[in-house]
């Protein structure tokens, strides 16, 4: 029997490797040197006027805004009763104290920072932002913040098909929001808001505050924190308002100075 399987790869490895290809290659560094120099010169001329927001790690200084002490004082660590817990929230819970869940705030801080950074970038790109909630005590606060920021809010009862069947509902083609922020993801008791499903269908990203009884799997940027108390709700609205106002102001100043903004 001949062992071709063993011999063949040895033959190929012993073949001499052609290393002189680089001399004949038209794409070598010697031939491209002139064109590269021209590109570098152009970049140097426009270096002052072009800005790339995505290349900054923290463009809106979000890391300074979110502090663990503020979250702790605003009672963001309270969860619901043990039996109401959604099993997907197990990883964000620190422990259960006398049958009530307590949320791990050390995990919420980085997730909140990433969510606020996303909100800031969308406001910087002049996207439409929608605030959503169905919790009766927080509705005036949320509507007022949306009014102050210059964005939109929908706190009335949700009718199925406002996003998916919008042309028939409103009589003409309308622009859907670019980002939905949920301050409370329940519509009625233990019933998820209808917009959570419709945003996932229409490919709209979402930022939501998820308590221990909320399913966070379809939400793009979930923030595990308490969503039932007014003190904590004031903190979330304040942070989101600060980010959006900062982003819009930054955009205006850069456009006045004549910068060209590029998202690449």
């Amino acid at each position: 029997m001949l062992n071709f399987g063993r011999n063949v790869p040895v033959l190929f490895t012993k073949l001499p490797i052609i290393r002189s290809q680089s001399f004949f290659n038209p794409n070598s560094s010697i031939h491209l040197s002139t064109s590269r120099k021209q590109i570098d010169q152009k970049a140097n001329e426009n270096q002052e006027k072009v800005i790339y927001p995505l290349q900054h790690e923290d463009f809106f200084q979000v890391n300074e805004m979110v502090k663990l002490e503020d979250l702790f004082k605003a009672r963001c660590y309270y969860g619901h009763h043990n039996g109401l817990r959604c099993p997907w929230m197990n990883e964000f819970i620190f422990g259960t104290r006398i049958n009530t869940d307590i949320i791990d705030l050390e995990q919420t801080v980085p997730m909140m920072k990433s969510a606020l950074n996303f909100v800031g970038h969308i406001a910087f790109k002049k996207g439409v932002i929608l605030f959503l909630s169905r919790y009766a005590q927080h509705i005036p606060l949320i509507e007022q913040t949306a009014y102050e920021v210059g964005e939109f809010s929908h706190c009335k009862p949700w009718k199925n098909g406002t996003f998916t069947d919008s042309t028939r509902r409103f009589g003409s083609v309308i622009r859907l929001p670019d980002l939905c922020i949920f301050f409370h993801t329940h519509d009625k008791l233990n019933e998820t808001h209808g917009a959570v499903l419709e945003t996932a269908k229409m490919m709209i990203p979402t930022v939501a505050i998820c308590d221990s009884d909320v399913d966070p799997s379809q939400i793009t940027y979930p923030i595990p924190a308490n969503d039932d108390t007014l003190v904590s709700q004031i903190l979330y609205t304040r942070l989101i308002k600060e980010v959006i106002v900062k982003a819009k102001k930054k955009r205006q100043e850069l456009e006045k100075q004549g910068y060209i903004i590029k998202y690449e």
Binding site: T96, I122, K125, A200, M203
Partner: protein, 144 residues
């Protein structure tokens, strides 16, 4: 604009990425959030999952206990009336926290362990707190 509405198949990013790769959505029609999501992705890919599926559910969280829980249990079972909590401010401490702090202070000073509870109640009554033992009530009923 072309789009897929099957939200249970994959997350919004993977669906949009597939449409862009296959040239159904052109460069002008790419939504605002796509570049930002690509640079700063979330912790987990936001795809649909159900408990009946193959996705792994995280372990159950632990139960929290403290050393002072025995004292609290003693307080709530034996001392009446229990003070209502003031939710407006964080500045005022409830009665049982003072009970625990004085207990620890006396323990450090060197009082016998059997007399510690009575000593703390006497100490707080001297400061002006009103305590009423449940045991005394029960004893009174038994005597009648």
């Amino acid at each position: 604009m072309a789009q897929s509405r099957i939200n249970k198949a994959a997350s919004i990013f993977t669906r949009m990425n597939g449409l862009i790769k296959s040239n159904i959505i052109k460069e002008n029609e790419v939504p605002l959030w796509f570049d930002i999501y690509k640079k700063f992705p979330p912790k987990r890919d936001p795809a649909y999952r159900s408990i009946l599926g193959n996705d792994i559910v995280h372990d159950l969280p632990k139960k929290l206990f403290y050393e002072e829980d025995e004292l609290r249990a003693f307080y709530f079972s034996n001392v009446t009336p229990i003070e209502p909590i003031v939710l407006n401010s964080n500045q005022r401490k409830p009665n049982w926290e003072l009970f625990i702090s004085t207990y620890k202070h006396l323990e450090a000073s060197g009082v016998d362990r059997n007399e510690l509870v009575d000593a703390t109640i006497e100490n707080l009554q001297a400061q002006g707190f009103f305590f009423k033992k449940k045991q005394e009530k029960q004893n009174l009923i038994e005597k009648q």
